[in-house]
């Protein structure tokens, strides 16, 4: 491992390209990464009786309310509306929580990066990691609900790691972009939570896209990256079909471009953060 005899040497003039350096640093600090994820998951429910079970109960509760409220309005055409809502909801929750947490952790964890060197991307990466653990745990209630409302569980669910990977890439990229802006303008954190709410209603999560007028549908489909990502998640999970190649390619491209953009913008600015936070 990295336990060499000679001491580690830090030389401020010997720096590679920041995006690559940061990648190396985050691999080196992987222990801290697991500690951060552990801390986030443990502390969130530490004082509650049911503990981590809330990770599964929370989306279930939301799903139950949404199903009761909206099944008449939107659910007519969707078989197993509860499973439809829940599948969209856990993908959305992952995205919303991890992007939001990324910027919060960097702004509020700022006292840390002013005292000790740690890779600056670790906040966004660990926020996404925490979200991923929650997402994986939420798959359990989703499968149970699918059984209850008679949505067949097909072998296509084995494909679900691919859409999850794309969701992770997209969320991490966007989380890094928002963190960068949030360092300079703290308001962005508040603004973003409002944007998230609007964004959620613009994404077919509680309603199916068929109920939208043709014109709106085109806009939502074309411009909303989360539409593509959630559809790619729902296809093998809820619909039980293998996504088409173009569905894979569109989502993959969105995820990759966002991740690269976020990583580059963040790491190029990261040296300034300790001055700003």
């Amino acid at each position: 491992m990295d336990k060499t005899i000679q001491p580690q040497i830090y030389d401020s003039s010997e720096r590679g390209t920041p995006p690559v350096e940061e990648l190396r640093a985050i691999l080196k600090y992987r222990h801290l990464l697991t500690q951060f994820v552990r801390r986030d998951i443990l502390t969130r429910y530490k004082r509650s009786v049911l503990g981590v079970a809330w990770t599964m109960l929370n989306p279930l509760g939301t799903m139950l309310i949404l199903t009761i409220v909206f099944s008449r309005a939107f659910g007519g055409s969707q078989p197993g509306y509860a499973a439809y809502v829940l599948s969209g909801l856990i993908a959305w929750n992952f995205f919303a929580q991890s992007t939001n947490a990324a910027s919060l952790h960097l702004v509020w964890g700022g006292s840390l990066i002013k005292k000790i060197y740690i890779p600056r991307t670790i906040f966004a990466v660990s926020a996404t990691g925490t979200g991923l653990v929650n997402l994986l745990l939420s798959l359990v209630p989703l499968l149970i609900v699918m059984l209850i409302v008679h949505v067949p569980i097909r072998p296509t669910v084995l494909l679900v790691p691919i859409p999850i990977l794309f969701l992770v890439m997209f969320s991490l990229g966007l989380g890094l972009l928002i963190s960068t802006i949030a360092v300079y303008f703290t308001d962005v954190v508040e603004m973003y939570s409002i944007v998230l709410m609007a964004w959620m209603y613009l994404t077919p999560i509680i309603y199916s896209e068929e109920i939208l007028p043709e014109m709106y549908r085109l806009w939502i489909v074309r411009l909303n990256p989360m539409y593509h990502l959630i559809e790619l998640f729902r296809a093998p999970m809820y619909e039980g079909r293998v996504p088409t190649l173009s569905e894979f390619l569109i989502s993959g491209a969105i995820a990759l471009v966002t991740l690269l953009a976020g990583w580059l913008v963040f790491t190029e600015n990261a040296d300034e953060f300790a001055y700003r936070i």
């Binding site: 580690q8 040497i9 830090y10 697991t34 552990r38 502390t43 840390l112 060197y117 300079y184």
Partner: protein
């Protein structure tokens, strides 16, 4: 305004840079510039409006200027100066938290900052969990921390409370655990920012003894203090900083004398 372009960072290319094997920290012509806006602009809207109006004013403030210093391995180095002299900035440069605006810094070895005790502890986690979290912050793996765990709890004298959440700890217990973790990881360079007043008398004695053991082992120690007695008792060399400029460096007594003379009565 938000990105420092690379061209601004003067790349110091000195061919004959002294690569002294004995040096633990080399600071070469360090300058640290803070860009402060005289009025704080918090909101995005405000910023955009001012930007359009061309009213975004930025003042440069140099927290450190042309600072050159060579600290040898195994030295206990004191840093003195009034508030706002740039002492903390200097420590941050060495701890790799801030990147110098100009100049070059070379640090050989693992740096453990003791800037503030247990700043990274989480109140809802137990002492045990926090030890592992803090160890990871300093770059240690879980396995390495397992080996150090007992020694840390022994030193902090916290066996009875180690599985209680830290929010139940007294501030003294909190500080003791912070000191124990930061020093038990055996850094090559230890940064101490005015902390020796922590804990009760018995614990203070223990802390001093441990710091002494560090330099006996050959570690380099940087000590910031306003208490001249502490500097005198612990340090081999000292530097006096004022307004980001080095005023004196060398033998502790001489530096303290110069510093005292420089103070208004």
């Amino acid at each position: 305004m938000n990105s420092l372009t690379v061209s601004e960072e003067a790349v110091v290319e000195e061919p004959g840079f002294p690569e002294d094997q004995e040096s633990a920290i080399i600071l070469d012509n360090i300058g640290v510039r803070y860009r402060v806006s005289p009025e704080r602009i918090f909101t995005f809207k405000e910023y955009m409006i001012r930007r359009v109006q061309g009213k975004v004013r930025i003042q440069d403030f140099w927290a450190l200027k042309d600072f050159t210093l060579n600290i040898r391995r195994g030295e206990v180095f004191g840093i003195i100066g009034p508030n706002g002299a740039g002492k903390s900035t200097l420590l941050k440069i060495i701890a790799r938290v801030l990147k110098p605006t100009t100049g070059r810094v070379i640090v050989k070895g693992r740096v453990a900052p003791l800037l503030e005790f247990g700043a990274a502890f989480h109140p809802d986690l137990t002492g045990r969990e926090n030890i592992f979290l803090n160890g990871a912050l300093l770059g240690f793996s879980h396995q390495e921390m397992v080996e150090k765990f007992e020694g840390i709890v022994d030193f902090a004298e916290l066996w009875d409370f180690i599985d209680a959440p830290m929010r139940t700890y007294s501030s003294g217990m909190w500080a003791r655990l912070g000191f124990a973790v930061a020093t038990d990881v055996e850094p090559d360079i230890l940064i101490i920012d005015e902390i020796l007043s922590v804990g009760d008398e018995a614990f203070q004695r223990k802390s001093f003894a441990r710091i002494r053991a560090f330099y006996e082992r050959g570690a380099t120690i940087l000590l910031v203090s306003h208490t001249m007695d502490t500097i005198r008792a612990m340090c081999h060399q000292a530097v006096w900083l004022d307004h980001g400029v080095m005023k004196a460096v060398g033998e502790v007594e001489n530096v303290i004398m110069a510093y005292r003379k420089g103070q208004p009565e």
